[in-house]
Amino acid sequence: MKLSAPGHYVLTFDAGQKMASAVKPGQFLGVAMDTGGMQFLRRPFSFYSADPETGHASILFSVYGATTAQMARLAPGETLDILGPLGGRAFTPDTRPGAHQVMVGGGYGVPPLAFLARRLLTADPDSSVTLINGARTAEFLVGTEGLETLGIHLREATNDGSRGTQGLVTLILQEILEARAEHVPIHIYTCGPTPMMRAVAEMAMRYEVPCQVSMEVFMPCGVGICMGCAVERTDQTFARGCTDGPVFEAREVAWK
């Protein structure tokens, strides 16, 4: 375990080569911690990395409640009770040649985007990838360590201006969309708080740019058996966030 910023931890574990090879950015796993039982459901965490060669994978988390508090206390060598990889639909990279891959993340939405960004660069070192990371204040800008050295274009926004642009991530996104060139296809991938994703999705739809959103709703089971993770579609049916998602097209989702 590694402290990546005050209160933020990167938990690296042995997922086995099978899982580490299978996992795709946007997928997640369910962690069960023995919190004494008052809280007993698994908590979902997005993969932050997965190395098919070593079989190691990692997640990045902050301490919110009982499960993450217990996770923060894990010592090296302890076993972790996980179920995964979960998620029926991961991020699908845009394969149009020369596409500008724009990721917009906030909070615990950043780890899966950082994972996607790294995978894109590994597959094709010439990929054009921008990651826009937003937070209230500088200390919550996490999850992007090492991305710039890989050639990813990192942009940051904070509400208080303590780092990067002062304001919301959509300010930077709009700038990119406004400046876009006819011949460079853009594809947006977003994950973060719902209001942020909604703003990003609406902007993408306005600019008619394809946009994939990862809907991190409450997921009681993560495997598709409880129907507790409903995401409303524009056709008024309910999809399961876990197995029909977590990644959806921005247009599929009934934003409210």
Binding site: A32, Q39, C221, Q236, F238
Partner: protein
Amino acid sequence: MEITTVPELSVRIGSLTLRTPVTTGSGTFGFGSEVAEFVDLNKIGAVTVKATSREARAGNPPLRMVETPAGVLNAIGLQNGGIENYLAEKAPFLRRYSVPIIVNVPGENPEDFAYVVRRLTDSGAADAIELNISCPNVSHGLDFATDPRLTAEVVATCRRATHLPLIAKLSPNVADIRPIAKAAEEAGADGLSLINTVIGTSIDAKKRRFRLANITGGLSGPAIKPIALLHVYRAAQAVEIPIIGMGGIMTATDAVEFLLAGASAVAVGTASFVNPAVAIEISEGIAAYLKENGFATVGALVGAIEP
């Protein structure tokens, strides 16, 4: 006291035989297909599938579920594709396995129930039918099982519609479950399932809003185990037909408690969310308990408690 033979785990509910006394709670195991990669479905006593109604139902808007102290409150609202979708899309997958299928059937009136029961019977897509007369998350859903007369009416109407084993699923939201259990038995039920969830709600003090869009939800999980055990015990005193006990079962010890209270079999609901293979682990745990305590059959444990 240890015996060396393998204890007999099979149990009967009407004409249906379960190889192990553990089934899944309807609505907590999908249609089996979702978790077939994690679980050997053939090792479960029976798969009780999600409620399947006459017409498709969209279900309730989110938020549909919230965790509470040692429990879970849900208001799914019986989202399902309807009986024709079940027959075309869901049943074929499960039929590739030898595990018996119990289909959970909700309805707005006795004829609704009977319609689905007939379709299931004619198609051969169920080995037993669980009448969900006790769902707290749809309007009128729970009224049937709070009234012995209405309970009897639904069961009797469905009895005329099928030769398949009929299991009436009862509600804990009653002062006394005995007259209702009795009414279901007299109307021709082959077994009882209990309990369905306990009505409740959850409030977010910070936002000053109900957490569930539906306001009302049904409580399940360890929190309700004491409530479920008493209903099972009381119902078992009142009827002769077998009972499938459920409500907060997480471990084999919990399951044994239900058998001792008088259930002939058990269902695991919420526990599958944490561990989709829990039904199998609990079967194994019951077998171990039987061996350790010198019981040759699971039946010998049923109701084996001093009052």
